[in-house]
Amino acid sequence: MEMTPLLINAAWIAGAVLAAGMLLSFIRLVQGPTLADRVVAVDALATMAVGALVLIAVITGQGLLLDIALAIALVVFLGTIAMAMTIARGILK
């Protein structure tokens, strides 16, 4: 599909909305009362980073960026599992 100005503008607006969501998640990451809150915030932030990479791929036309998005999704899942086990064992509160 050719990149019409409508599509480019929609991608930029979506990027702005996504940035607002990332900012709210980051506030939760900074002030979240428990460690589990912060882990949830990091998980959501990483998913949003995947979305941001997809938007950058759409804007620049670089399909290769989707590889990085997949890699981020893989790594963050393992990190969340590891943090959940750490919390469950009571190693960190």
């Binding site: 599909m1 607006i13 969501g21 428990t34 949830v40 949003m48 959940a84 919390i87």
Partner: protein
């Protein structure tokens, strides 16, 4: 077609924004997790679908579909484990919560390794 892709991009990004809003506004960790997991999963799925429509390249479409499947498989698993860990650690619920069914069933010492060591 272009309108459909633009709508996918905007709705996906808006769902991500709702995720952030839910994380910021919800009162305790379990409601926050409820907002974060579902919204982020569907948002990233819509964005990836839009990218698949834009590129029309078999490699990119496959990668997008694989990423969607992976996110949809792993996000509930991660959220479940994290919620269970937080609940077992007696993370306080919202003070207006009306029901708490797991208190008698999920405890902090309900870990398989610790239970097997106690049985010896």
């Amino acid at each position: 077609m272009t309108l459909l892709v633009a709508a996918f991009l905007l709705v996906g990004a808006f769902l991500m924004f709702l995720t952030g809003l839910g994380l910021y506004r919800m009162p305790d960790i379990f409601t926050r997790m409820h907002a974060a997991t579902k919204g982020a999963s569907l948002g990233v799925a819509l964005l990836l679908l839009a990218a698949a429509f834009v590129f029309r390249d078999p490699m990119v479409v496959t990668k997008a579909l694989v990423t969607i499947a992976f996110v949809f498989l792993t996000a509930p698993v991660a959220a479940h484990l994290l919620a269970r860990a937080a609940y077992a650690r007696r993370t306080p619920l919202w003070e207006h919560s009306v029901i708490d069914e797991g208190r008698d069933h999920i405890a902090a010492d309900d870990q398989p390794d610790q239970r097997s060591s106690q049985n010896k």
